[in-house]
């Protein structure tokens, strides 16, 4: 395939809007090739989008669907010769998930949080999502085995467990959500801060986070720990964010990347002491990110309208439900995690929501280096992913931001500095925040760029970057970004002007980390006891079997294999 004459943004390879031809052969980018020609002359071309934090598959997503037939009936589209039916807006069915990402020019999306025990379900759903490549992060922050290793300061056993857990779950990386709090929620309480001891376990969230960060680096995992802070969603929680990040700054990454990736930073950048004096602390957070290099973030942008909140931060969800008198699902997973699902809606005239909306944008605009900030909405918590073009145009256009701000609650300017920010992002910034940076942050070497050897995932938009004023013509920009002119996945045109042409299955990336046999054996003693006494399933039936990853791709990591120790 030849993609002719596009205006290419490939920041990972130092290409910032050069007119050039691109070549794909056997599913990969190459220096030169023949074949089908795509006319992209003068049009915006980027690598396929990479979504590093989204809730797309697994128990809590399906719970969202089951409890929301009111959502399923939105976005309903009948089957076609190529496509299965689509339903849902905030909780789309699996087919809609794949088609809608593809229509927007995205070719990779990662499920943000999977408990090991229920990973089989996640993989069943991932396999059902067409087109896009995927991966799933695995939850470790409330896990009994993890907490015991941390309590005993047994780092090598902890690393062995993380490797075993990733293998059992066929997971890609270490996800930590409200560490310690999920376990406390097992009896209906929560933790109040990173130094608050977890009931019954004699460890603190700070210790859990550090332990897992160290184990993560010991195993040389492609991604860093991916962290959802304690106290998320509470006024004044920005101090927890800074405190937590500071606690990790001395840890050395084992790869050329961050030590910690912060999930949906917006929800943890809050000032004030209550919802009454609630205000943005984005400038403080941004300042911290500007002065340190060990952390990255994704925005977690909130947009007005419907959402469905779903997170492993179960106590937060219970709080959400009580506050808004909404239906509430909860699911605690033995020995491992908790989770909750609550439908939500965000309103312009609700001061808190309006300030939350501003915070996400402030964070992205105030952090100078776009390689540190990913554009996300924590789908579907802040907004469904189909609304990414709205976020992008807000970042690129100050006039658009001003027009939006004029429709909000009138107290907003007092609670946020957004109105004073002049910065407008350009295509290089956007290409970094939606393609190059997520791939680098996740450690996906063949994604997010168009150099030789990269996966042949390319998006072409019906937009002339050399002619369009992204500040003034934001309506046109948003429309063009919503529907790619061409989305190419592995060298196949999967979507053209919004029509899905092909639905090849995507691959599921997971990490197979090696550890010394000695450590694995030591670990097994603990695990055998846990399965014998506490789990409600047998160890033999626990791990995800090969049958669930017919398109799996294992990435190797771990400690170098030494000669076996008898």
């Amino acid at each position: 395939m030849i993609i002719r004459g596009g205006i290419v943004y490939d920041p990972a390879n130092g290409i910032y809007g050069d007119e050039m031809d691109l070549f794909i052969d056997k599913g990969r980018m190459v220096e030169s090739a023949k074949g089908e020609e795509i006319d992209a002359r003068g049009l915006l071309v980027m690598p396929g989008g990479v979504d590093a934090h989204s809730h797309i598959a697994g128990k809590k997503v399906n719970t969202g669907r089951i409890m929301r037939p009111d959502d399923a009936r939105l976005g309903t589209q009948p089957r076609t010769a190529v496509c299965r039916p689509s339903t849902g807006y905030t909780v789309p069915n699996c087919y809609a998930m794949g088609y809608r990402y593809a229509r927007m020019g995205y070719t990779t999306a990662f499920e943000a949080a999977t408990p090991i025990l229920e990973a089989r379900h996640t993989h069943e759903e991932l396999e059902e999502i067409p087109i896009i490549d995927k991966g799933a992060l695995t939850l470790f922050g409330n896990n009994w085995q993890v907490m015991e290793c941390v309590r005993d300061k047994d780092l090598s056993k902890l690393a062995a467990y993380v490797a075993w857990g990733l293998c059992s779950a066929r997971g890609y990386g270490v996800k930590i959500v409200n560490p310690g709090g999920g376990e406390a929620w097992g009896f209906g309480t929560n933790v109040k801060g990173i130094n608050d001891a977890v009931p019954n376990f004699d460890v603190t969230p700070a210790e859990i986070i550090r332990g897992l960060a160290e184990a993560n680096e010991m195993l040389r995992l492609p991604h860093s720990i991916h962290l959802h802070f304690n106290n998320l969603g509470k006024p004044g929680n920005y101090t927890t964010a800074i405190e937590t990040l500071d606690m990790l700054k001395d840890i050395k990454p084992s790869r050329m990347r961050q030590v910690v990736h912060v999930a949906h930073m917006q929800f943890s950048a809050y000032g004030g002491t209550s919802w009454r004096d609630f205000e943005s602390k984005a400038p403080v957070i941004a300042d911290y990110f500007n002065c340190h290099s060990h952390a990255t973030m994704d925005m977690g942008q909130l947009l007005f309208g419907s959402a469905t909140t779903m997170t492993a931060d179960a106590p937060l969800e219970y709080g959400n439900a009580r506050l808004t008198h909404n239906k509430w699902s909860n699911h605690d997973i033995e020995l491992e995690e908790s989770s909750g699902v609550v439908p939500m809606a965000y309103f312009r005239k609700m001061l808190v929501n309006a300030v939350q909306w501003a915070i996400g944008l402030e964070l992205a605009l105030l952090v100078k280096d776009p390689w540190k900030v990913l554009m996300t909405t924590d789908h579907p918590n802040g907004s469904p992913f189909v609304n990414y073009p709205e976020v992008i145009t807000l970042l690129m256009s100050r006039p658009k931001r001003e027009a939006e701000m004029a429709t909000l609650h009138d107290q907003v300017p007092k609670r946020t500095t957004l109105g004073s920010i002049e910065r407008e992002m350009d295509w290089t910034d956007i290409a970094i925040m939606t393609r190059a940076a997520p791939a680098r942050i996740l450690g996906l070497e063949d994604k997010g760029h168009l150099g030789p050897g990269a996966d042949g995932d390319v998006s072409v938009y019906d937009l002339r970057p050399e002619e369009v004023d992204t500040s003034q013509d934001h309506v046109l920009v948003k429309k063009s970004l919503a529907t790619a002119k061409y989305t190419i996945k592995g060298g196949v045109v999967v979507s053209k002007e919004g029509q899905i042409l092909a639905t090849p299955p995507g691959r599921t990336f997971w990490v197979d980390a090696a550890v010394p046999q000695l450590e694995a054996d030591r670990l097994m003693v603990d695990l055998e006891e846990k399965f014998a006494r506490y789990y409600s399933v047998q160890m033999a039936n626990y791990a995800v079997q090969d049958a669930y990853l017919p398109h799996g791709k294992a990435i190797l990591a771990g400690l170098p294999i030494l000669s076996e120790v008898a």
């Binding site: 409890m67 929301r68 037939p69 009111d70 959502d71 009936r73 239906k327």
Partner: protein
């Protein structure tokens, strides 16, 4: 004024979905165009004329000028008058499920009985049923907080279970008995039941339910005083207190 009469050509072994039979859809079309409108029968698409005889005035008009007369057995025809904003639909016999779904205005009059989900999610307009109505009269869609938000429904006979579930506005009047759980989860609106009711107003937070006949009242409703309405005595209750509801329930005193 434009008049159109539609008559089924035969009995329908499989139900027909005819959301196209609505004043807004038919008014701007000629008879010939109307005849080629699509209805669904299971997984088969059929033209209106394949299943129905369509007669009447040919000239296009506005919805508010149109009266559609449905003559014959429409009990297997669903979604009649769906979304109508104006005009009149007269059903001479009985009508199938979902008649008047999402109505916003106009009049839907049913001489016989109406099946389940009559006027689901109604917003405005008026529905009159001479016979009985089925379950979920003036109800909502599964999982939604609000069902009917406005308009008036009157049923001369009785109604099935779950009438006015999630009622947020408008009024429902049943002269006969209501089935189980009328007015569940109400957040507004008024319901009048001439006959009896079982556990009315479960989890209601606002609105008024009046039951002239006997009612089994939930233990979570607080008995207040006796009030007089149109010369009749009613026991007044506040509820549903399980959820600190501020609804009002009136139950007739002295059974018929």
């Amino acid at each position: 004024m434009r008049n159109i009469t539609i008559t089924p050509k035969s009995a329908f072994p499989i139900s027909v979905e005819a959301e196209n039979i609505s004043p807004d859809k038919l008014a701007p079309l000629t008879l010939s165009q109307i005849k080629s409108l699509i209805v669904w029968q299971g997984n088969r698409q059929r033209t209106l004329s394949a299943l129905f005889v369509i007669e009447g005035d040919d000239a296009p008009a506005k919805a508010e000028e149109l009266t559609i007369r449905l003559s014959g057995d429409f009990s297997q025809v669903k979604r009649i008058a769906e979304g109508m904003t104006a005009g009149v639909v007269l059903v001479e016999g009985s009508v199938g499920m979902h008649a008047g779904n999402n109505m916003k205005g106009g009049l839907l009059s049913i001489a016989g009985n109406a099946d389940d989900w009559l006027a689901r999610e109604m917003r405005g307009g008026k529905v009159v049923v001479m016979g009985n109505a089925g379950n979920y009269l003036g109800g909502g869609y599964r999982g939604e907080k609000c069902g009917m938000r406005g308009g008036e429904i009157e049923v001369r006979g009785s109604a099935g279970a779950y009438l006015g579930e999630h009622l947020c506005g408008g009024s429902i009047r049943i002269l006969g008995d209501a089935g189980d759980f009328p007015g569940a989860a109400n957040q507004g609106g008024t319901i009048f039941i001439g006959g009896s009711a079982y556990l009315p107003g479960a989890e209601m937070s606002k609105g008024t339910i009046t039951v002239k006949g006997e009612a089994k009242v939930l233990p979570s409703f607080q008995r207040l005083e006796i009030v007089q309405v149109d010369g009749l005595a009613f026991q007044k209750y506040a509820g549903d207190l399980v959820d600190n509801g501020k609804g009002e329930l009136l139950v007739g005193v002295g059974s018929s």
